[in-house]
């Protein structure tokens, strides 16, 4: 949160450092008062008369100083809120739907669909429209912006702007059941040109065709077996909507809501029995012959 790479997170970090300064000062001074009071109170034989009246303590420490600090914080709250909740022209819309326990990501202007990995262009404000397909989730990429909940039957808009290229971790921050802990995502902030290329490649459907015999066999297995019932791969007969869209699976960095890194080994393990990696997720164990499994892995890892 303090290693901030987004404009919104930077605003909040500034608020934090202001509050931290005030808080440290208040804590040290008041704690000093407590200790002085204790020492005075312990040393004096009968209660030494003090120059201060009781009410003086209350008026200054209990009312005067707090009122000043709180007024300052109220102003900071209002001004920062105004800045954070502002929209900018030309912002890029991204629709994110939280599901147990993964993230469905769509770019409505270009029809691109992906999952668990959100690409955004550096320096351009994005408007992430958040809703939920089941229970309440919360979208939190601490290095970029604060949280906003995903609520069924309601769409919330989180706006943020990434300032530096990089890969930022995000997660669900509202308890959503068994695997709440493994409902992470990545925000990949690309230089604008890279982002445009990324988006264009997906919107044209390039990369979803099998590149080798092994991969072609994998595609056959994928559409023949139960995989296609739940997953979509653009340009094939696999059009399931229960699980994440896998059209650009090979380009993703992680599997299963950022639970494990996306390597052929991990993928094979995931397909065989994802319940061992992320118990309770809705994907059942899939039994494939070793050669079919190898083909599917090759196929999926080739989708870029």
């Amino acid at each position: 949160m303090l290693d901030e790479h987004g404009q919104e997170a930077r605003h909040v970090a500034a608020v934090w450092w202001l509050m931290f300064g005030l808080a440290a000062g208040v804590y040290v001074i008041v704690a000093a008062f407590i200790f002085i009071a204790l020492l005075r109170g312990r040393r004096t034989a009968t209660g030494k008369p003090s120059r201060f009246k009781d009410d003086t303590f209350i008026w200054i420490g209990g009312i005067g100083v707090p009122v000043v600090i709180l007024a300052l914080l109220a102003v900071v709250t209002v001004t920062t809120t105004r800045v954070l909740r502002n929209s900018e022209p030309g912002e890029l819309r991204i629709d994110v739907t939280g599901k147990r326990w993964w993230w469905d990501v769509r770019y409505p202007d270009s029809g691109v669909v992906t999952a668990n990995e959100i690409h955004v262009p550096v320096g351009r404000q994005v408007d992430v429209a958040l809703t939920s397909g089941d229970v309440v989730h919360s979208f939190w990429a601490p290095q970029l912006a604060g949280k906003l909940d995903l609520i069924p039957g309601q769409t919330n808009h989180l706006r943020f702007k990434a300032l530096d290229a990089g890969v930022y971790r995000g997660m669900c921050a509202e308890y959503c059941g068994l695997e709440h802990a493994d409902m992470d995502f990545l925000v990949v902030a690309d230089a604008p040109a890279d982002f445009d290329r990324w988006l264009l490649r997906r919107s044209t459907g390039a990369g979803t065709t099998a590149q080798s015999d092994e991969a072609t066999k994998g595609e056959v297995v994928f559409t023949r077996e139960s995989c296609a019932g739940c997953h979509t791969i653009r340009g094939t007969s696999a059009q399931g909507t229960v699980g994440p869209d896998l059209s650009d699976f090979g380009s993703r960095r992680t599997i299963g809501g950022a639970t494990v890194p996306n390597t052929p080994d991990e993928l094979a393990k995931w397909i065989t029995n994802s319940q061992a990696i992320k118990p309770g997720n809705i994907m059942p164990p899939i039994s494939l012959s070793p050669s079919d499994l190898q083909a599917v892995v090759t196929y999926l890892e080739g989708l870029k």
Binding site: R42, D55, A74, T77, V78, T80, Q143, I151, Y175, P279
Partner: protein, 638 residues
């Protein structure tokens, strides 16, 4: 009252005791209406739940000490954090304070029992049966798992089909009854039973705090009853209050829950500060600074706390302007707390401080609450809250407030009043040792959580990946929790050991200013053979020995003196200026409160297991009990 003339008036003390004595053994245990027995029972029962919930915390910390550890399965972890929070709020903090209120209020205000002693017994039985109800889920392996505040639609029938959540929802509705009934009893007792001369501006601050507690509870608890109750209607009877697909609204649930939930934090905190406002002056050998300020602060907190609930919902996407109002109220509520804080500092500053165990806990409270209060101001600042809400920063903040700033005063209060309650002294040595271990353990446990929140660790996760940089701090937190647990264990040992074996306690070991120190330790069943006559805010400091009232010939004054005790009556006085107005007759022991509470427990069990007959039988038993209660009133009073 005709009985008066037929009974010998001048009983000696032994005969008086015998008149008030409960039946021995189990029958007396089950039927007593003595506020002191009930109060102690409340405290002991709550602490049993406290240590159970503490163990759940230690188990969770064992799991989180390292990334990807397999100590607990995710399902069990989720059950444990749900029960930890639920237990601490509903089965420890609220009832333990009600227990202190029960025990102390009649003694503090100089009367012989609560206004409604049978209702008092009833609220205890409801509480303990509600707790057993919730924990019975453990024995069938279906503990609640929806989080202590639930969250819809997560705890709807669709996403939580099992009976787990019903244990929780019905348990909340059930135990809420106990709090409401108890609060009504406190309010009437405080307004109508104060000893003559204890005008409203002479009430001890703990009594003030329990008055505020009670009013807040009466207005807040119905909201949580509604939230949990409507969800149970959705679950059990297929209504759709919170079902979005059928036009229900899940945010309505959050509003209802937090309309209770945030006042609840102050419902717990206010009596804790009331205890501190008794302890600090006693160990500073002077009256509290700014009594009027402190009493006024308690009342102000009570009001403002109903305007802050949305700060639990800053991330739900409500319009910023609406949220700004709640942000503002959440900042303003700091001021009454600040006033109290400096009243305590001024009291010590100009007093003569001795650091006995209760005072150590009070000072520990000051240092912890200072930080918890500061982080509380921070989370009131909306943009900052968007970052830290539902992260470990909030876990740290809430434990600084609800553990540090409520549990430390409660431990202090036990060390302060234990001798009075049991007649036996605690070991000061063990008490101080316990304090230091707890204080150090507390800070090692909860301080690093602030940093974990900044590092992006969300709340309620059963595990985390390595490589995120959370491992070291989590290990530290887990070690700290073990130290803190050890500290509480030392106190537990101290309390259990001293229960029978501690040295006999003085009537007034700390030289306190309030009336409980004017009676023996433990006090006789009737508290005061003659009601004390109050002429000061600090009767034991200013009027020692406190003068005793004599019974007058008129009805209004008959209960004041010894004849009142002989008559099992206590005087009723006017609310503000305590003019005697009449006699309140104190009922004998009765099983009816237990019977009605059992009936309700059977009714809720019927709902839980979907057994109509059981439910009907339970409610019938309760109704018969209530009718019998009204019918038998005269007999009980005879």
């Amino acid at each position: 009252m005709t009985a008066l003339e037929t009974r010998p008036v001048h009983l000696n003390d032994d005969e008086l005791l015998e008149l008030w004595e409960d039946a021995p053994g189990i029958p007396g245990f089950l039927s007593t209406v003595d506020h002191k027995r009930i109060g102690i029972r409340y405290i002991v029962t709550s602490f049993i739940f406290f240590f159970i919930a503490g163990l759940t915390a230690l188990l969770m910390r064992a799991q989180l000490a390292q990334p990807h550890s397999g100590v607990l399965s995710p399902a069990v972890y989720n059950e444990l954090f749900t029960m930890h929070g639920t237990t601490m709020i509903f089965l420890f903090n609220t009832p333990v304070l009600a227990g202190f209120g029960n025990y102390l209020i009649p003694l503090h205000i100089g009367t012989r029992d609560m206004a409604f002693p049978r209702l008092n017994a009833f609220s205890y039985w409801v509480f303990v049966l509600g707790g057993i109800f919730m924990y019975s889920s453990f024995f069938i392996g279906k503990m609640p798992n929806g989080g202590w505040f639930g969250e819809l639609p997560l705890i709807s029938k669709t996403f939580a089909p099992g009976v787990n959540v019903d244990f929780w929802g019905l348990g909340i509705v059930f135990t809420g009854l106990s709090t409401t009934v108890g609060s009504i009893n406190f309010i009437v007792t405080i307004f109508k039973l104060r000893a003559p001369g204890m005008t409203i501006n002479r009430m001890p601050l703990f009594v003030w705090s329990m008055l505020v507690f009670s009013f807040m509870a009466i207005f807040a608890v119905p909201a949580v009853t509604l939230a949990a109750g409507l969800n149970e209607l959705d679950r059990l009877f297929a209504t759709s209050f919170f079902v979005p697909a059928l036009g229900g609204n899940v945010l309505l649930y959050q509003h209802l829950f937090w309309f209770w939930g945030h006042p609840e934090v102050y419902i717990l905190f206010v009596p804790a500060t009331g205890m501190i406002s008794q302890i600090i002056p006693t160990f500073s050998r002077r009256p509290i600074a700014g009594y009027i300020w402190v009493a006024g602060s308690l009342v102000t907190v009570g009001f403002i706390s109903f305007g802050v609930w949305v700060h639990h919902m800053f991330a739900t996407g409500m319009p910023p302007l609406a949220m700004a109002m709640f942000s503002g109220a959440s900042l303003i509520i700091t001021i009454p707390s600040g006033i109290q804080f400096f009243a305590w500092i001024a009291t010590m500053w100009k007093g003569k401080v001795t650091l006995d165990t209760p005072m150590l806990f009070a000072v520990g409270f000051l240092l912890i609450f200072l930080l918890g209060g500061i982080t509380g101001v921070m989370v009131a600042v909306m943009p900052f809250d968007w970052q830290v809400t539902d992260s470990y920063f909030v876990v740290a903040h809430l434990h600084y407030v609800l553990n540090g700033a409520v549990v430390f005063p409660i431990f202090g209060a036990i060390y302060y009043w234990y001798g009075k309650m049991t007649g036996h002294e605690l070991s000061e040595r063990l008490g101080k040792l316990s304090f230091w271990v707890m204080f150090i353990g507390f800070n090692i446990t909860f301080f690093p959580m602030h940093i974990l929140g900044f590092l992006g660790m969300p709340r309620r996760v059963y595990t985390y990946n390595d490589g995120l940089g959370w491992g070291g701090l989590n290990m530290m937190v887990s070690i700290g929790s073990g130290i803190f647990g050890l500290g509480t264990g030392i106190s537990l040992w101290n309390w259990v050991w001293s229960w029978r074996r501690g040295r006999a306690a003085d009537p007034d070991p700390w030289h306190g200013d309030t009336l409980e120190w004017a009676t023996t330790s433990p006090p006789p069943h009737y508290n005061f053979a003659s009601i004390p006559l109050i002429a000061s805010r600090h009767p034991l400091w200013d009027q020692s020995p406190v003068p005793e009232a004599l019974s007058g010939p008129e009805d209004e004054t008959r209960a004041l003196g010894r004849e009142g005790a002989v008559d099992r009556a206590t005087p009723i006085t006017s609310g503000i200026d305590t003019r005697p107005e009449g006699n309140l007759e104190i009922p004998n022991e009765t099983y009816l409160p237990l019977v009605i509470a059992l009936g309700l427990a059977v009714f809720f069990t019927g709902l839980l297991i979907d057994a109509t007959l059981t439910g009907v039988a339970g409610i019938a038993l309760a109704v018969v009990g209530v009718l019998w209660w009204t019918w038998r009133t005269e007999e009980d009073l005879a």
